[in-house]
């Protein structure tokens, strides 16, 4: 990013203005289409400003992890497709993409959104595995939230096949049912730029931020996961502000998600 643009962003923020005209705590428009990949068990495309993500859900029988035979498996991934931005490289994911995937996964996992105890085909032998794979098609900052919304919307609209444990292992039954869910996690990401806290940073803001924090809240309005990032720090007061923004923003975003999946 050139210094001119960076300085312009920071100057505007001194006047509590943002480069794209938003208020400090304002999110960009969120557009959600569900069931965009009909052959997957669930899917959603999310556009958060000009960031665009598709999440597809695959549900299939799996061996349980050795120490948790009484629970199903949930794995959420994220991948920046090379067509999403000129700097993306093919090959194994770098540390930023690994962090993205793990933060999105943890936000959903720690909210206990999916009741994994209901995903057991046979205890210690066979469980249901739910894979939520996010692919980023176009990048304009704040993928943490975009991927989280895509995964959450895809989970909420997924249709799960049923299996019974028979002689030859899990056997597919007729019928589909929704995934058992308990809450709707909402990820909110704030950046600190030139001393100001802004919500939902776009790619220009992402490039010049000092630090960031992603806070996931559940339907009860509690915090269930968070991750600080970036080369600078926050004061405790700033973190308190971020917590408030997260809780205040998440209600409306949760309504947007609910509306999208009920269409």
């Amino acid at each position: 990013m050139d210094d001119l643009k960076r300085n312009r962003i920071i100057e505007l923020l001194q006047e509590e203005k943002r480069i794209d005209g938003r208020a400090l705590k304002e999110y960009r428009s969120i557009s959600i289409d569900v069931n965009v990949i009909p052959k997957a068990n669930g899917s959603a495309r999310v556009r958060l400003g000009d960031s665009e993500v598709i999440c597809g859900i695959k549900i299939q029988p799996d061996r349980p992890f050795s120490d948790v035979g009484e629970k199903g498996i949930f794995i959420c991934t994220a991948e920046l497709l090379p067509l999403s931005h000129p700097t993306v490289e093919t090959g194994p994911p770098n540390e930023s993409v690994i962090e993205l995937a793990r933060v999105v996964d943890r936000g959903i996992r720690e909210s206990h959104m999916i009741d994994l105890s209901q995903l057991v085909i046979k205890k210690d032998e066979s469980v249901v595995g739910v894979f939520a794979d996010n692919v980023v098609l176009d990048y304009d900052g704040n993928l943490f939230d975009a991927c989280s919304y895509a995964a959450t919307s895809a989970i909420l609209t997924a249709k799960m096949p049923r299996w019974e444990y028979g002689e030859a292992g899990p056997e597919l039954q007729d019928g589909l049912e929704p995934l058992p869910t308990t809450t709707i996690p909402v990820s909110t990401t704030m950046a600190k730029i030139g001393g100001q806290i802004v919500a939902d940073p776009n790619s220009d803001e992402w490039d010049c931020m000092d630090a960031r924090i992603t806070i996931t809240t559940n339907s009860d309005g509690d915090i269930c996961a968070l991750q600080k990032g970036g080369r600078s720090g926050f004061t405790a007061d700033e973190l308190a502000t971020c917590g408030e923004i997260a809780i205040n923003s998440s209600g409306k975003i949760r309504e947007t998600l609910q509306a999208a999946v009920s269409k």
Binding site: I37, P38, K39, L81, L83
Partner: protein, 244 residues
């Protein structure tokens, strides 16, 4: 070709295929150019139930430098299936199949792209299979060629692709997934419609020399149908007022 025993009737007594098409009828094809914001050029195609996105970057610098060519630009292609695109979740690492298809697609596009105008640079074509339904390589190629044009890369000709094949001893156009699994042969073809050159040709399955020539002929007709849709997609983006 699997040539598996199956109860499925691939071609009924009226010459109608398992999905209701006639022997020379392609699946529903929808192409849209310019669908991505960051990519220099892009296109989205729905070809039957295939859903594929192509994005192009370039001409741009090559890293590491020794991969570049002082005499010409280079074309790099990646055909990639996203994890949820197929029935069983796909491992993210590139498979040998994906690597081979990336190569044959690149060789199908190279004759059409005027790479010699951009020495030392690379043009990158990324094809993402979002949902697969048989014939992904042809559909990906169709989207990639439109994305190249959308990126303003100078081209000698469009490249249009469609498969021909054989089911129930009959040569058909545009093999779908069921026909690929249970039929007798699948022959993906890519074609430069103005230069009259076949730039991709593969075959799995058994046919006579006569059927082989017929298959190529049928495939070329399919490519011409695709070509019209590719031109339409570009026109819709660049001359929207002329489209009604």
């Amino acid at each position: 070709m699997g040539g598996r025993d199956t109860d499925m009737v691939l071609l009924d007594e009226n010459g109608i295929r398992c999905d209701g098409r006639k022997v020379d009828e392609p699946r529903r094809i929808m192409i849209k150019a310019g669908v991505l914001k960051n990519a220099n050029g892009s296109a989205y195609i729905e070809f039957g139930d295939n859903k594929i996105l192509a994005g192009v970057y370039g001409p741009r610098d090559v890293h590491p430098k020794h991969m570049s060519n002082a005499d010409t630009g280079i074309l790099r292609c990646r055909y990639h299936m996203v994890p949820f695109s197929v029935a069983e979740r796909k491992n993210p690492a590139p498979s040998r199949r994906e690597i081979e298809i990336s190569k044959v697609i690149r060789e199908a596009l190279e004759p059409a792209v005027m790479l010699e105008k951009f020495p030392r640079t690379a043009v990158d074509v990324y094809m993402e299979i979002l949902q697969a339904d048989g014939g992904t390589r042809c559909a990906a190629l169709d989207a990639a060629a439109v994305a190249l044009a959308d990126a303003g890369i100078p081209m000698r000709d469009m490249v249009s692709a469609c498969a021909a094949g054989k089911v129930a001893d009959t040569i058909i156009l545009d093999v779908n997934n069921e026909e690929d699994q249970a039929g007798q042969a699948d022959m993906p073809i890519a074609y430069m419609p103005n230069l009259n050159q076949i730039t991709l040709l593969q075959l799995d399955g058994v046919m006579s020399l006569e059927e082989y020539n017929k298959c190529i002929e049928v495939g070329i007709q399919g490519c011409k149908t695709v070509y019209a849709l590719q031109k339409k997609a570009l026109a819709e983006k660049y001359f929207p007022e002329e489209q009604t």
